[in-house]
């Protein structure tokens, strides 16, 4: 039986990639370790090595093919005088069909990732902060973040980026791609792996007047630095009677990626939103990522900017404007509705959106609010919606106790009690450390089914 060479997954969140180049041709002999192909994702170009000794029997996917899904057969290797006779694509059970998008490490279709595998096309209710008729350009969240930083760095010499792998490596998630070339080593600073130290250096530089953007490879690592973020960055303005503030942005991916286990999957939205002196932003769309990051860099206060690895590669329309900024602290209605209000932020908006689509088919009209900022928290927008729908469900990936949903629930209780026809329900990550097993991870994260169930409970349907 010939050996099938499958499209490999190069990162925990990779779903497909481009087969950029074959470095072997049919009939070539290879031994394990030989480079046979190059694969490109939106993050990186990687080499594929042969894992067995043999002869390349057939190249199934020609070079230059885009969007080759992970686990698809890309070539066939003949070992010990085997022939191609009798082999046909799809004959073996492990091969994924082209239409099926399979999680990198998921063994079968039953365990596809907990997150919706491909980004849904969102119909975003128009943002009042974007002038009508503005030309839109499809942009990934990753590019939007990079563009925001580059634009602000061009405008202001005091803005610089520091963090692990931000410069020569071009960013662990390629968010800082190209910045080193344009701005040089002085302003795009690779740090050692030393979060507590470089967060403190960033705050010190900010107290003296610079405007650092500190990238954490993930906010999970920022726990090493949280003393400097809270005790030094957030509190100094108050402790100094208003003399000294820290105009600094701490940014990076937050929350679960895919199958990265308990120590790399936590959502810190609730933690930071607890702290007076910090602003906390958690955008979902690329337009919000760009407009809010530019505002965060200009903000004279410390801003926690929570991104999400899974949406980095997702494209959205971004307004083509010379200087597009969005106000921090303003929620946006993603979708109008009348029966129930779904409140979320970050990747949670995706769950809320998918649930709203499905509910619409069942005759239930859900309004979806993207908070965008968690501090200041735009309760006015939430309350105005609840006054209309009289019901509210919150959705977040973080833990349930003392979470963002708990806060919204408490504020609705005190400020909109008379408008509620049902208790506020929270859909959250489960009250457990994030498990690794694909099925358990799926159970630990919020899902669309839970949202629909909660909506039906509060609408008595």
């Amino acid at each position: 039986m010939p050996t099938e060479i499958l499209m490999p997954a190069l990162s925990p969140t990779m779903e497909h990639g481009k087969l950029a180049k074959w470095t072997v041709k049919e009939g070539d002999s290879v031994t394990s370790g030989d480079v046979i192909a190059e694969i490109e994702t939106d993050k990186a170009t990687m080499e594929v090595e042969a894992v067995d000794e043999g002869v390349i029997g057939k190249i199934v996917v020609p070079e230059g093919t885009e969007n080759v899904v992970v686990n698809k057969v890309i070539a066939v290797l003949l070992v010990d005088g085997e022939s191609m006779e009798g082999w046909s694509e799809g004959a073996t059970p492990s091969a994924a069909t082209e239409k099926e998008v399979v999680s990198p490490s998921a063994p079968s279709a039953e365990t596809v990732p907990a997150q919706p595998a491909s980004a849904p096309k969102l119909e975003i209710a128009s943002d009042p902060d974007i002038p009508a008729g503005t030309k839109m350009v499809s942009t990934t969240v990753r590019e939007a973040l990079r563009d925001a930083m580059a634009e602000e760095m061009r405008k202001d010499e005091d803005v610089f980026v520091m963090g692990e792998e931000v410069a020569e490596y071009q960013g662990a998630y390629k968010v800082t791609q190209g910045l080193l070339d344009e701005f040089g080593k002085k302003r795009v600073v690779d740090t050692p792996i030393t979060e507590h130290g470089f967060a403190g250096i960033g705050v010190g530089a900010a107290l003296a007047g610079l405007k650092p953007i500190v990238e954490f490879m993930t906010f999970n690592f920022a726990m090493q630095a949280i003393d400097q973020i809270i005790n030094s960055a957030a509190k100094t303005l108050y402790m100094s009677g208003g003399q000294m503030g820290a105009p600094i942005v701490f940014r990076g991916p937050n929350g679960a990626a895919a199958r990265v286990g308990a120590q790399h999957s936590q959502c810190y939205a609730a933690w930071y939103s607890h702290i007076p002196g910090l602003k906390v932003v958690a955008p979902y769309t690329a337009a919000d990522a760009k407009g809010l990051l530019k505002s965060a860099i200009r903000d004279p206060n410390p801003v926690i900017f929570l991104e999400n690895e899974i949406v980095y590669g997702q494209s959205f329309d971004v307004p083509d404007m010379d200087d597009f900024t969005l106000p921090i602290g303003k929620a946006r209605i993603h979708r109008q509705g009348s029966d129930v209000t779904l409140v979320s932020f970050g990747i949670g908006v995706r769950y809320a959106h998918d649930a709203a689509e499905e509910l619409a088919q069942q005759g239930i009209s859900a309004e979806v609010i993207d908070l965008r900022s968690l501090r200041p928290l735009d309760m006015d927008t939430v309350i105005a919606s609840v006054q209309k729908t009289n019901r509210c469900i919150t959705i977040e990936e973080g833990f349930p106790q003392s979470g963002v949903g708990a806060e919204i629930s408490a504020r609705l209780m005190s400020d909109a009690f008379d408008y509620l026809d049902a208790p506020v329900l929270r859909i959250t990550g489960k009250d457990v450390p994030m498990p690794y097993a694909a099925n358990l991870e799926k159970l630990a994260l919020p899902n669309v089914g839970e949202i629909i169930e909660a909506v039906k409970a509060v609408t008595y349907k």
């Binding site: 080593k185 050692p192 403190g200 009677g241 000294m244 004279p300 206060n301």
Partner: protein, 344 residues
């Protein structure tokens, strides 16, 4: 900010540095040092008194005994150089030229204090005097001070940041994270380790595997000097060398100040971990102010009467500061919600 490579052999020799030679002070320098140190001493005595009377609350860490350190270093600083330190910060603020009355009013939690009464003993700042606090988390000021130096290098302003911390903070991990980056990026920062022998109640020999703090930068090739922190002239001389080192672009340097605090760690510390004799011996044999006084009298640069007059004048300044700090009103209740954010 990446530095050019240096020959390894040259760098290997850098971690040990000869101690600076003490240079004798002239009359003017001696009188200045006497005045500066006595101001700190009298201020702290008054603060201790006000604490005992209940006018100062919370934590209050006095600097008595360590006055020569800030006085000697301040003498080598130029406009724009920054200072950052821990919560034992009153002496540093007075040395920076901050007003005694506003420091005292912060201690009593009044609106005229440097932080409008919102910071307290441990948290005072003065942008004008380049004093960056006043930090309550042991060791946290070290990365911050390194960040001030990062700013100086970024802006190419020629200034140097002085980050003070104690023998206790010297065991915090973030100190070494800072050392690494400071040397890697050749940041102009002087790390002044005030070794007063006790991290709260734990003697350095019980807390530190290496008690020669001047060597604490050796893993990073940061040179260090051991300095008699009770002799203001020694501190001054070491400060000159350290400033030259930083201003010439050679990166950070460590000055270990061997000093002593006479009082407890804070006002609520009875200091049972050391003998009365030990404290008394330091007071009678090494007191930084007494050393200057003896030289002034011995060289007939000042008479006892003249020195008493200086003391009287300082007592008046401190007395006025205390009066102000008790008469000044508490911050208005509306101040509770100000200074949380700067309006964007």
């Amino acid at each position: 900010m990446v530095k050019k490579a240096k020959p390894a052999a040259k760098r290997a020799t850098r971690s040990k540095k000869a101690n600076a030679n003490i240079v004798d002070y002239d009359k003017e320098q001696e009188l200045h040092a006497y005045h500066e140190m006595l101001l700190i001493r009298r201020f702290e005595e008054k603060a201790g008194q006000l604490y005992g009377m209940g006018h100062i609350g919370g934590f209050c860490h006095l600097y008595i005994g360590q006055e020569a350190v800030v006085t000697g270093i301040q003498a080598v600083m130029t406009e724009g150089d920054q200072v950052i330190t821990s919560y034992r910060d009153h002496g540093h603020m007075l040395a920076c030229g901050m007003e005694p009355s506003r420091v005292m009013a912060e201690l009593t939690g009044r609106q005229g204090g440097y932080s409008k009464g919102k910071g307290g003993s441990m948290h005072m700042f003065s942008k004008e005097k380049h004093f960056y606090g006043g930090h309550g988390i042991v060791g946290a000021q070290v990365p911050l001070g390194t960040g001030l130096a990062f700013h100086n290098k970024y802006k190419e302003n020629g200034n140097v940041s002085v980050a003070y911390f104690g023998d206790g903070a010297s065991n915090q991990g973030q100190v070494y994270e800072s050392f690494n980056m400071a040397e890697l990026w050749e940041l102009p920062v002087i790390y002044v380790i005030e070794n007063n022998r006790y991290a709260m109640g734990t003697a350095v020999t019980r807390s530190s595997a290496l008690t020669d703090f001047s060597k604490r930068g050796s893993s990073f090739n940061i040179p260090g000097m051991k300095v008699d922190g009770m002799d203001v002239r020694a501190v001054h001389a070491a400060g000159i060398e350290a400033m030259e080192h930083c201003r010439s672009g050679k990166g950070p340097i460590i000055l270990e100040m061997e000093t002593y605090r006479y009082r407890g760690h804070s006002m609520s510390d009875p200091a049972k971990y050391r003998s009365k004799d030990e404290v008394q011996k330091m007071r009678s044999e090494s007191d930084p102010i007494e050393q200057v006084r003896q030289r002034l009298v011995g060289k007939e640069w000042a008479s006892e009467d003249e020195l008493k007059a200086i003391d009287k004048q300082i007592r008046e300044v401190v007395g006025d500061a205390a009066d102000f700090s008790l008469k000044d009103p508490e911050p208005a209740p509306s101040e509770l919600y100000t200074d949380v954010y700067i309006e964007a």
